[in-house]
Structure formats: C-alpha cells, structure tokens
Amino acid sequence: MTEIVEQAIGRSRTARRRRKTGGITHIAVFLAPTVLIYSIFSIYPLIESLRLSLFDGQPDGSAVWIGLGNYATLLFDANWAVRFWNALWNNLILFFIHMIVQNPLGLLLAALLSLAPRFGGTYRTLIFVPTLLSVVIVGFVWELILSPLWGVAEGMMSAVGLGWLYAPWLGLEDSALTAVSLISVWQYVGIPMMLIYAALLSIPDELLDAARVDGLSGFAIFWKIKLPLILPTLGIVAILTYIGNFTSAFDLIYSIQGVLGPPDYSTDIMGTLMFRTFFGQQTQIGDIHMGATVASMMFFIILIGVTIYLLGVQRRLTRYEM
C-alpha cells in the first residue's frame, strides 16, 4: 500500500520536474519511431542514391569518384541530353494537361457535390473508385478500351456517329502523351475533387448567408467568395499534382507504354528514363551511377518546383486569405 502511494508521489514529482525543465523524454519517445524508420528506410537510401551519382562504374563492378561528371554527361552529351530534355519536356506537358483538365474538373465536380444534391455520397464514392485501382488494372483496362482490335472505343464512337474521329491515340506520336495524361486524369481526379470538396464544406455558413442576403447569385457567390477562400487548397492541389507528375506518373506510363515511352519517345518521362537507365532493359545493362544521376536530377527539379511554390505562390495565397 505505502509502496503504491510512494510511487504515485514519486511519479507526480517527476512529472512536475519534467514540466519545469520542459521535459524532453516524452518528446523523444513520441518522435523516435517516426524519425528512426523514416531516416533508415527513406532518407538513408536517398542519400546513398545521391552519393552513387558522383561515381562512375567500371566494367569489373568497382566505382571511381568523378564528381559532377555524370551530371555533365546527362546535360551536355548529345545522346544523353536529347533524352533528358525530351523527358523533362514531356513531364512538363503532363503537368500542364493535369493543371488544365484534372484540377478544373476536380473543382467542378467538388463544386457540384458541395451543393448537396441527392445521392451526393454515391456520386462521390463512385467517382473516387478509379483512384483506388492499381495501375496494373488501369493500364490494362484502358489499353483494351482504346485498342483497335477489341474496338470498344471505336464501336461506341461509331454508335453516336463519331466513328471517323477514332484514332489509335496511344500509338500516334502526336496524341500518345495526351491520351496517357487523360487516363491519368481519369484515375486521379478523385483526389483534387475530395480535397476541394472538403475545403468548400469548411467555409462557414454565416459567410454564405450574408452573401445571399446581399443578393449575390449562386454563381457570383462561387466566384467572389468560395473560390478565393479555397485558393490555398488549390495551391496544395497544384503542388501535389506537380510532385505526382514526377513520382506516380511513371507507374501508369510504365504499365501502358513500357519503359521506352513509345512511340518514338513521345511518352518518355523522367521516371521511365530513370528506370531504364538505372535498371536496364533487354540488352541495355543498368547503370546505377547514371541512373542515380537521373534520379537526383528529378529530386532537384521537384525541389525547385516546391521552393517556387513555397516562396512565391503560397505566401501570396496566405496573405490573400488573411
């Protein structure tokens, strides 16, 4: 009995002491698992990749320090540079298409959903379904649908008199990247939709009521009140799109078009370039050093984009919100 009491007193004493000194143990305990797992399995491997990019592989498997030599090769050797700039350019187009199609579409759907129509929940759930699917499935399905052989797309277009519009989009240089981008939009539009929808819901009702009393139409309310208020969310959506464009877009292109980004490199992006450089394919033997160089360039490009966003866009947005 006394033991327990003593323990309790002791505990409260330590507690008091901890609070006084600002107590560091529990902070460490809270942070330790995350910091440990993240550092060991995420940051350390990435640093290792950066380190690899500073070496040149020898035929016998050893490596020689060459500083920024690999970066010079990637950017200035004609054969490498043409692939690098092509991939980067394709990535930017991909980003652009997502910005003008996916995000406005997400905004539109979210705006409609926020009017709380009947079956709103059902629409929301179903529209989110593609986002849940693996690219293995998405790639296979869309290839089938657009396939000239199976003829689903062609058949459906003919049925409404648009058969002449059909083309083997995935196989044509001019349209392959757009087609892949739109498939990606189809898959991921659920994410901006959800984020924007949630932001719209969090706008205080009083604000909207006041606007209505002032006689603003629904449309005007949307433009003049809601949209400015959700600008920060749109900013986040934009930056997530930018990052996803370098990270998750690879999976889709890889599963639909393969690692060479056909036809004629028109769907080759940084991800596919990195993948085949790093790991090789068929007779091309992987070069982990050049691969790591491409990977590091990707990292720097993402970093530049995020920095621009944080310094420029977000700061202005937040001020606007105030």
Partner: protein
C-alpha cells in the same frame, strides 16, 4: 536467446556428424523471365531432374520479362538473387560476368556438347571464359493460317515479290487482315520485322561481322533495304496498327482474323493451344529467286550460376544436367519453338516446330544484328532499333532516316565505326 543459440549449436553439431554419411538437401532457385514456362518447369523439367537428384530441390521463380532485368539487377546488387540465373544472350549477360555476378563455368564438362557458335553467345569476346550453358535458340519466320491460304488458293511465297503478291491477294479478298503486326510495343518491329527479314539482305553473319569490324555501315544499301520492305508492310497491317500491342497481334491471328503472323518460333506453344485452324510456316522471302536464304536463328536463352550462390556444387550439377541430351529432348518438346542448341540428336514432335527447324537446313543462320558488341554503349543500338523500326512502320521516319539515325548513334561511341 540463449536457448536458441544452444539449439542451433546442437543442430549444427548434428549436421556435422551426419554430414559425411548423408548429403544435405539443398534448394536452388532459378531466376527467369519466362513466366509462361512455370507449368512446364513445375510439371516436367523439375520432376525429371529431382528424380535423378533426390538431394537437390529446384524452385522456378520467374519475373515478367519487362521487369526481369531490373529485378535481377537489384537482386544481384543486393545479394538476394537466385542460385541459377537465366541469361539473355551476348551483351545482355556479359557485363554480369565482368562484374563477377555470374560464375565462370568454362570447365563444365557438358559444355562440350555444344557447338562454338552456341557458346559464343555466353562467352567473353576472346572466347576464353563461358558463363552460361546455352539452352535454346529461337528461329524467326512467318506463321500463316493454312486454312485461309487454301481458301484463297495461295502458296507459301519464296521471294519478296511473291510475298507482296500474296498480301495483295489477301487484301483484295478482304476476309482477313493480311499481316498480324502492330507497332505499339516496338520490340516486335525490331525482332519480328527488321532482324527477321534483314539477314536476307545483309547476308547474315557476313553483314553482321562487317558492322562489328567497321567495314559496313547501317546506311549501306543492305541495311536500308529491309526498312524499305517494312515501309511497304503498313498497307497490309490492321487499321490502327500503331496502337496494336503484341498480345493484340497474337489474338488477331489466333482468332482467325489475320492471315500471316511475322513470328518468332516461341509462339508455337501458345498458338498450338489457341488456334482452331491449321498453321504453316515459311522463312523470310528472299529478294530475288535463287538467292541463298538467311534466317534469324537467335541464341536467345541460356542459364548460368550466381557467383554468390551458397550451393555451387549443386548448381553445377544442375547445369551439367541442362547440358545433357536428356534436357535437350525434354525442353525442346515441352516448349516446341525453343530449339536446343545441343549437338545431341533429338526428335521434335510438334509439326509447326518441325517446319521451323527445317529452315536450318535450307538457310544460313545468324543472330540478331545488334545483340553482340554493337549495343554496348549509349545510345544502345538495340533500343534505337526498336524505336526506329516502329517509326518506319508508323511512317514517321523514312527508311533512310531510320538507318542514318542508327549509324549516327553507333558512331558516337563505337570506335571501329568512327573513321
């Protein structure tokens, strides 16, 4: 913790004691890109081996072909690759040997069962060391719907002009798509078109060696001509062939909607199962009547030993078995279309496979033109060949441009081509 330690020591002691009398059972895993062969290994090859070698267990663990190189590379780097490694030919595996990831197996007795050209695909340039046992080659040509040919009164074409006459006849009739070929996946354009019909123009090995020695260029007539023929193919391919994938082409042919399939012999197994009509095969037509014909008889698949394996003895035992006549017969018949490279005599039962193997008697064999030495640099010539061949079929590059681009890429790093 202590308990476990003691137990392990005890087991170890037991093993040591028994080691002399009782050989320990080992399990070897096989890395491969032939996911389709799972059943054949599980049901035929592995039981046959384990019967004569009860102390060695085998596990066949394939990775899809598109991921094979990447996954294998990562596993080799990480030290987790299987004991036995299926080798792509020539420069697909040589670097693995140079890095010390594939073991030197030059002293394997069974290697004497193979001709030199077969071993060359898995040996160093000087022929000193061999690192994989040759398993099989694949032969290219054309598979056709024999029922359709009968129906339209057509015969196997011998020359290019006859070939196009046949295509015209099929096109005029309209029932069938003349050529089951697409350009979406690119590699078929290179393997089933360019290096399939090309050897007839560049005279097989002669042209290939000339390129390696720097005496010929891709811009020479004999390397441009196959592209010129391919440019004529697109009129006979299905509508929207630009988005037609490899499996689309397979389906198009086996569902009886197309008449001729530019093929590799590996299709035989699947086609024999899927197609409900008679099939025949002919080698690539020659430019002019009486020309010697050349076929792409590509040393495609071998198997070697991970230098890091824990069971080198068992792995060598298995490789000896792969080099045996027993394996040659089992493999070739389980997988008609993969032709053993062994000197051993064996019977091929599948009629379509028999036709393909008969090409070897009429024609000279060669391997894919970019597979040896020419794809060692960046840009990788074989990759460029994929892309440019598809471009020619797509009409987005002229034959001359495709060839010039290949030559420019090769010259940029390959010294013998640089003067």
């Amino acid at each position: 913790m202590k308990h476990i330690m003691m137990k392990t020591t005890a087991t170890a002691a037991l093993c040591l004691a028994a080691g002399g009398a009782l050989a320990q059972e080992v399990t070897l895993t096989i890395e491969s890109w032939r996911a389709e062969d799972q059943a054949i290994w599980d049901d035929t090859l592995i039981p046959a081996f384990e019967e004569s070698h009860p102390d060695i267990n085998l596990e066949f663990t394939p990775t899809a072909p598109t991921e094979y190189n990447a996954a294998l590379n990562a596993r080799l780097e990480g030290g987790t690759a299987g004991d036995l490694i299926t080798c792509r030919s020539f420069d697909g595996s040589l670097p693995l040997f140079q890095r010390g990831q594939l073991a030197d197996i030059s002293d394997l007795e069974g290697l004497s069962n193979f001709p030199d050209f077969a071993k060359a695909a898995w040996s160093t340039d000087d022929g000193e060391s061999t690192f994989c046992v040759p398993m099989a080659s694949v032969i290219h040509g054309f598979i056709y719907n024999a029922d359709a040919f009968d129906e339209l009164g057509l015969e196997e074409p011998q020359t290019v002009e006859e070939f196009f006459a046949v295509l015209d006849a099929i096109k005029a009739d309209g029932t069938y798509i003349p050529l089951a070929m697409g350009s979406a996946d690119q590699w078929e354009a290179a393997t089933m078109a360019y290096t399939n019909i090309g050897p007839n123009y560049w005279k097989g090995e002669e042209g290939r060696q000339a390129l390696i020695e720097g005496e010929a260029k891709f811009t020479d007539e004999e390397f441009v001509a196959p592209y010129e023929q391919m440019a004529r193919w697109s009129d006979y391919m299905g509508s929207a062939y630009q988005a037609q994938s490899y499996s689309d082409s397979q389906n198009l042919f086996t569902l009886g909607r197309a008449a001729i399939y530019p093929a590799g012999s590996w299709e035989i197994t699947g086609f024999s199962d899927q197609a409900f009509f008679e099939m025949g095969a002919f080698p690539p037509p020659v430019p002019a009547e009486g020309d010697t014909c050349y076929i792409s008889d590509h040393t495609d698949i071998g198997i070697g030993m991970n230098a890091d394996t824990d069971h080198p003895e068992a792995a060598r035992t298995f490789l000896e078995w792969v080099a045996s006549a027993e394996f040659a017969a089992l493999y070739t018949n389980a997988l008609p279309g993969f032709f053993s490279l062994s000197n051993a005599e064996f019977e091929v039962e599948n009629p379509l496979a028999q036709e393909f193997i008969s090409f070897r008697e009429e024609c000279e064999s060669t391997v894919r033109v970019a597979s040896q030495i020419l794809s060692r640099g960046e840009p990788n010539t074989w990759n460029t060949m994929w892309v440019n061949s598809a471009n020619v079929l797509n009409d987005t590059m002229t034959p001359q441009e495709a060839a010039a681009d290949l030559q420019q890429g090769l010259e940029s790093w390959y010294e013998p081509q640089q003067d």
